[in-house]
Symmetry: C2
Subunit: 340 residues, 2 copies
Amino acid sequence: MSHSPKHPAGHPAPTSADVARLAGVSRATVSYVLNNTAAVRISDRTRRRVREAAEELGYVPHAAARSLRAGHTRMVLLPTAHVPVGPLYSRFFDELQWALRRLDYTVVQYGSLGMDGDEAARAWAELRPVAVVAFGEIALTPQGVEVLKRSGARAVITLGAHQVEGAHALVLDQAEVGRQAVAHLVERGRRRIGVIMPEDRRLDFFSVPRLEGARQAAAGTGAEIVPVPLRHEEEPAAELAGRWRDLGLDAVFAYNDEYAMLLMRALQDAGIDVPGETAVVGADDLLLGRLLRPRLSTVQIDMVIGRHLAELVDRAVRDPGGAPERHDLMAARLIHRESS
Amino acid sequence: MSHSPKHPAGHPAPTSADVARLAGVSRATVSYVLNNTAAVRISDRTRRRVREAAEELGYVPHAAARSLRAGHTRMVLLPTAHVPVGPLYSRFFDELQWALRRLDYTVVQYGSLGMDGDEAARAWAELRPVAVVAFGEIALTPQGVEVLKRSGARAVITLGAHQVEGAHALVLDQAEVGRQAVAHLVERGRRRIGVIMPEDRRLDFFSVPRLEGARQAAAGTGAEIVPVPLRHEEEPAAELAGRWRDLGLDAVFAYNDEYAMLLMRALQDAGIDVPGETAVVGADDLLLGRLLRPRLSTVQIDMVIGRHLAELVDRAVRDPGGAPERHDLMAARLIHRESS
């Protein structure tokens, strides 16, 4: 197969020299204007002429060339979420992107499906981001952080359960969700409490610490915690409901509202009264929980708004030698409705 | 504020010269090995030595420098979705990313919140992607396509309702969803059919063509279509249910399953029998529709798997002079359950 020319037939790529010629200025002036170099005095009229010439020719600066000259980029790299993250995270990331854009960063998301933490760090480093915000299923190691910093990243920030050496940490302690749910159920007099564990391994990041938190809340109260695996489909839920009474559970923390909806339907179809026979608590405070009958009790999770994270990114980029910061961001509170 | 050094104190960035020295080979050999240049014969032993040296030093190639040398990148740029796209799209994009990764492309998502089509095209062009897949709320214009091609993009592919001049098009005709829903309701003898229109303007991309399809399916049948605005919250749904009988609707296509769930709960709470008094149809075939009582009728949407799109990207990159391709990808079918 013949390899194709760089540009489609008949469209030579315009260069900054073309822009300079059309605007009647030097190439250096084009570069100063289009890269917003504030240090050089250029009249508004000239700036306008350069911008109009660039627009007319369809010229855009080359971010890679600019980054090679500057030694770094304004690119903040976030991994793409591959877990079904739901509306809470979507809102959070939209806010984060807005806030970084306002601080003049370019936000790029990078798919990291199937990579481990060190593979991901090397792949990210190739793009020479000025900052990386890592979270979720990608577990960065101290070596990965080092690879990123050596490639020029001024800030590496992890968003997760633990702090990683060399990185700033926004700690989201999912255990708090399990603690809140089970503390409530114990207070309501429940003594044998199931904790739904999704079979989807991508959710371990959330489910394992939630179970741990449930155990912590039950410790010393005489209540017992029973992990209950469940796949998010109708048949396994019906099967679980069919042997529910053998499990002898008087309550269940259902991982989140969507699992709670699935389980509650199966329990009700099997003739098990909620909350009379078994209390059910979800998490996330989705609208659908308020649409169920009985209305679903849930754990509401307040995530820090993206703007705060954007400010940490900017602070860390400006002061890459600063000591790693650690902020605990998870706040969770129980909303008591009718199902518990 | 003092500006900081490019690399954190004490960690000079390793260069390919460092790797060459440690491996005892030339810099050219390092470049050939780490960029997987197949044209040059290098022994497996040397390749291994170079890779080990790079790993030991924490050296990673610079994607931007490589792209400047090559004149283009292997970067495929996708916009980040800012609409609440749901599990169907998440699965589709995961598949697309996997497939492109296997074809040795780097997939990067770029946040384009609040940009119009031309602004987005210029911002994307700065990253010099070899291909762009645009979709959703970003409406590329022929000018935007031109800017991207002049900056070196070999393939621009739109995913949406319309074809854009100069770009390949994967057409997802959302009207088909509305047509399927309303054709079913007409066939069931319904004559005054509401179509829920979400007040969230970001969903116009889906909702407007769905309404158009609903009108097409009703045309000539004697059935009437009534657009019904709704915000996805409990109070407006209850308010709508309170004046439902004034609207005189015997059926409703509820935009999607989540809106259908909200509306059905409000109708039932207001004492309106579903489907006796009003039939309800959703769309997306989510699990939650099967958990409702009555079980929700819905329009199932089959999206082309991401692999097909990845193959189109690769074909278009290899043959940038090829005529724009257009493929219709939307397939929708009605699943009749109990609510209609």
